[in-house]
């Protein structure tokens, strides 16, 4: 297991231009965007329309409120005016019932007093143009004094023209009055000789009984009040004509939408023209409540009941004051009118303004919808693309949060764990992968959650899947400020690869033995030559000895030759032993091995070959080289292969043919180099020379270097080669050294 720990991952700069171009690959359908834009834009603009409508409603209601409050103001002013006017009339009447000239007349009863009183009334009316008539009627109904208002001024009517009013309704009403009581007639039109006077003369008669000093009722005082002036004043208050109506208690218009609708109760042909019939609902409301508003017939009607005679003066402030008897029942209705046209005129600019605003907003909303739908389609396509890629990567790809729960998995998880990514979402790692695997991974997980990137190779035993070799890459998801929010996990199943590697290594070791046997063939030729030398020497020495002894020569010389024979026999034996050592296929031993010794052995083994190929083999061995634990047979095989290759490489060279074996000790262990002066290795091959079946030799298998590498790697060493600038090739391997060479 190898654990690399590169420097902690820095959070990516978000402002930097993205390095990849995946957004350019994403297919975005124009038609789809258009459809989405239209739908979203419609929704947006509909919502906006709703908002604008609500705003319009509020504004419109506001406008209406403004109108209504304006009307209420008018009503209020009109009410005030009515009250004031009535109060003035009442006070005039009270004055006339109590002044001295009247009392003088009542006491004396003479014509002089009567004339004086009449003149008094003339003066009075001349100043008070609101009154049409002022009369004094005796208890028999006979007018005693009558002053008429004329265009030229007030005019007293002479006695012969005075009439008896005993039959008139107001005489009867007046006769009922006691002291301090005032009679007020309904507002109607003046009638002369049984017909309504033209032009119309709206009129209210105020009357009260006249009592002398002794408290005896002596007559009746009647003031005819000209209501047209009052009506005009109210019209002035209303400003625009005909939007302030005045109704009497029966629902007839006193002031109406049209002159022809007014005074219905005075004209038999106008009986039907009354408010209560045209606006029955409002009328009904008016009966129930004194103040209110009602929409009817396209108009908004605000109404208010007015008691003109009951003003603020109260009994306590002026206890002796005369008052109208029916002042609580005497009422009119003031109605203000707001027409639909008026409202429309007020709302029109608002509608225009809102329509413009809405048009701009709707346009904008379509633009926004377009942008949004483009973005969302592109993002969707991007997500689809990435999903497809991530799902088709033959690795496990996941995102795990800080709570060690899966937040994202690719489809490869389904093949491993049988659960789809959706099923895995939110589940704990521990539960998904099983306890033993979790414990194996735990240190790695803790490391990555501490913010460190982890790349390692593990052998994990997943539940149900059996042991698997995996490479694990964990990349922490570091948030700004240094916290770890989770990590990205990429797990690659390399079980098959590992298995292949294991098998390959096993194979190569087996092959090493086979190839060693193959080299035994080579070595045998070598040995044959090497044995030939001593044998030839022995043969000749012995032949010489035989001849000398036969001819009776020097025995001393023969002795010397026998010694030589012996030495040569030893030499031959040594060669044979070397062969046996080389060919020996014993148990793999891990004893201490001296590379120096092996180098010498190999040189001895290849001596004759070197001679015949005319190659100079040099040894340059380090003194006190540490030994290395290993299999001496296999290591010797490696050196033999390298030396043999080197010799063959230089054999065809025209220049110096030299092979040098060097040993040295290093920090990491011991090192052996085989340098030659050959043509070197083609750069294109690189370290591929160590791959199987790469060879330059016509009869080679191309497995020598591959076997050498697997042997060295099996010993925990490294083999490589370099091509030094001065030419040739240097093969070099290092092995861990342990023991000191004695």
């Amino acid at each position: 297991m190898s654990m690399a720990s590169p420097p902690p991952v820095e959070p990516e700069a978000s402002t930097a231009r993205p390095l990849h171009t995946i957004d350019r690959v994403v297919p975005v359908s124009g038609r789809r965007i258009l459809r989405r834009t239209l739908v979203t834009g419609l929704i947006f603009s509909t919502l906006l329309a709703g908002l604008v409508l609500i705003y319009y409603r509020a504004e419109s209601a506001n406008n209406l409120d403004m109108l209504k409050s304006g009307r209420e103001r008018i009503q209020h002013l009109a009410t005030l005016t009515l009250h004031q006017e009535m109060a003035a009339v009442l006070s005039d009447l009270r004055y006339l019932s109590r002044h001295n000239e009247l009392f003088t007349y009542l006491e004396t009863g003479g014509p002089a007093a009567e004339r004086q009183l009449g003149e008094e009334y003339v003066h009075f009316l001349a100043q008070k143009r609101d009154y049409d008539q002022a009369r004094l009627i005796d208890l028999d109904g006979q007018e005693r004094i009558r002053v008429n208002q004329t265009p030229g001024g007030a005019d007293s009517v002479p006695s012969p023209a005075l009439q008896n009013k005993k039959d008139r309704y107001y005489f009867t009403e007046l006769m009922k009055l006691g002291p301090g009581q005032i009679y007020v007639s309904p507002l109607d039109l003046n009638v002369e000789q049984g017909a309504v006077e033209q032009p119309l003369k709206p009129m209210i008669r105020f009357g009260m009984a006249v009592f002398d000093q002794e408290g005896r009722k002596r007559g009746l005082l009647v003031l005819n009040y000209r209501a047209d002036r009052l009506i005009n004043r109210i019209h002035l208050i209303a400003g625009a004509p005909r939007n302030l109506w005045l109704l009497n208690g029966e629902g007839f218009w006193l002031m109406g939408p049209d002159g022809r609708d007014e005074w219905g109760f005075m004209f038999p042909e106008r009986r039907e023209r009354r408010f209560s019939l045209r606006y029955p609902e409002t009328w009904r409301q008016m009966q129930q409540t004194p103040l209110g508003a009602q929409e009817e017939g396209g108009l908004l009607l605000q109404f208010q009941r007015v008691f003109p005679l009951a003003w603020y003066e109260n009994d306590r402030e002026a206890p002796g004051l005369a008052r109208p008897v029916a002042r609580d029942r005497y009422y009119w209705n003031l109605v203000t009118v707001i027409s639909g046209e008026e409202r429309q005129a007020l709302d029109a600019p608002l509608i225009q303004r809102l329509a413009m605003i809405y048009a701009v907003l709707a346009l904008f909303s379509f633009a926004v919808a377009g942008a949004l739908s483009w973005l969302s389609s592109r993002n969707l396509a991007l997500v689809c693309l990435l999903e497809r890629m991530v799902d088709n990567v033959p690795m496990l790809v996941a995102y795990v949060d800080a709570g060690q729960r899966y937040r994202f998995n690719n489809m490869a998880y389904r093949d491993w764990f049988g659960s789809t990514p959706r099923q895995l979402y939110g589940r704990r790692l521990r539960d998904v992968m099983g306890e033993s695997t979790y414990q194996a991974l735990r240190p790695t997980i803790e490391k990555v959650l501490a913010g460190q990137r982890v790349d390692c190779e593990l052998r994990l035993d997943f539940d149900g899947t059996g042991p698997r070799d995996v490479t694990v890459s964990y990349l922490p998801d570091v948030v700004e400020g240094g916290g770890v929010r989770g990590y990205y996990a990429v797990v690659n199943d390399i079980t098959a690869l590992k298995e292949t590697q294991r098998r390959e290594r096993q194979h190569l070791l087996e092959l090493a033995h086979v190839s060693r046997l193959a080299s035994v063939g080579e070595v045998t030729t070598e040995i044959a030559h090497q044995v030939n030398q001593p044998l030839a020497a022995i043969a000749m020495f012995s032949a010489a000895a035989l001849r000398t002894l036969r001819d009776g020569g020097e025995p001393d010389q023969v002795m010397d030759w026998l010694g030589q024979i012996n030495a040569q026999a030893q030499r031959a034996g040594e060669v044979v032993k070397r062969l046996r050592r080389f060919a020996h296929r014993g148990e793999t031993s891990r004893g201490p091995v001296s590379l120096n010794e092996l180098a010498r052995e190999v040189v001895a083994l290849t001596e004759y070959g070197a001679r015949s190929l005319d190659v100079e083999v040099r040894l340059s061995l380090a003194a006190h080289l540490p030994t290395t634990p290993g299999d001496r047979v296999l290591l010797e095989q490696v050196i033999y292969n390298l030396v043999r290759n080197a010799m063959e490489a230089v054999a065809e060279q025209p220049g110096p043919r030299r092979v040098e074996i060097r040993t040295s000790s290093e920090d990491a262990g011991v090192c052996l180099e085989v340098a030659d002066t050959g043509p070197g290795i083609a750069e294109s091959l690189g370290q591929g020379v160590f791959d199987s079946f790469i060879t330059k030799k016509p009869h080679g298998l191309g497995i020598g270097l591959a076997i050498s590498r697997s042997i060295i790697e099996a010993h925990g060493g490294i083999i490589s080669y370099t091509s030094p600038p001065e030419g040739g090739t240097v093969f070099r391997f290092t092995l861990p050294g342990v023991h000191r060479e004695q």
Partner: protein, 207 residues
């Protein structure tokens, strides 16, 4: 065979044991042997007047046996060569024989076989040595001739009569006869046939 012929066996082998064993064997049969440990060492001592034969190991560090053979021929050293090799493959033998080796012996060898080969080589060498001596004498005699006598000799060997020779050289027939007399006297031959034979053999040797 002249008494001046004193053959020696020159042994060139890089293996000391083999070298001394060969010397021992040759010594035991009263052959005079000189050993060299490399081709280069032998070349330093070699000259065309060497007598005897060369025992040569084909494979040696430095200059190989075959290469040595080539160099010897270039230098006109005609010593018979016996190749001894531990590697008796056929191509090697063919190459050695093509290069002019007299014998090819494989190690380890029967001592008698080697000695027989040595003896036969020595015989060849002795013959060659003698011929070399004769040729030397002929050459010496021919060297006494003047330039004009050489020209006349050439025409004589072609078998031209004196009259033709005289007309070719633009000299008198009598002068040709004087030259012929001098040639016979200087080379020491008595008849015309003898003179022609002498010239032919000399030319053959010179080729």
């Amino acid at each position: 065979m002249s008494n001046d012929y004193q053959p020696r066996i020159y042994v060139v082998d890089d293996d000391a044991a083999v070298r001394s064993a060969l010397c021992a064997l040759l010594g035991s049969v009263n052959l005079d042997a000189v050993a060299f440990d490399s081709a280069e060492a032998f070349l330093r001592a070699a000259n065309p007047d060497l007598m005897g034969c060369l025992l040569l190991d084909v494979r040696m560090p430095g200059m190989s046996g075959l290469e040595l053979q080539r160099v010897l021929r270039e230098r006109g050293i005609e010593l018979p060569v016996i190749i001894i090799t531990g590697h008796g493959d056929v191509p090697m033998a063919v190459r050695a024989m093509k290069a002019g080796a007299a014998e090819f012996i494989e190690k380890p060898f029967n001592d008698q076989l080697l000695l027989d080969a040595i003896h036969s080589s020595l015989a060849t060498d002795a013959e060659a040595w003698q011929r070399r001596g004769e040729m030397k004498a002929v050459a010496e005699r021919l060297n006494r001739l003047t330039q004009r006598e050489y020209e006349v000799l050439d025409f004589l060997v072609m078998g031209l009569p004196s009259k033709r020779i005289a007309s070719k050289l633009g000299i008198s027939e009598r002068t040709v006869d004087v030259h012929r007399f001098n040639i016979m006297r200087k080379t020491g031959v008595r008849t015309m046939a003898e003179l022609i034979q002498l010239c032919m053999s000399y030319r053959k040797q010179a080729d």
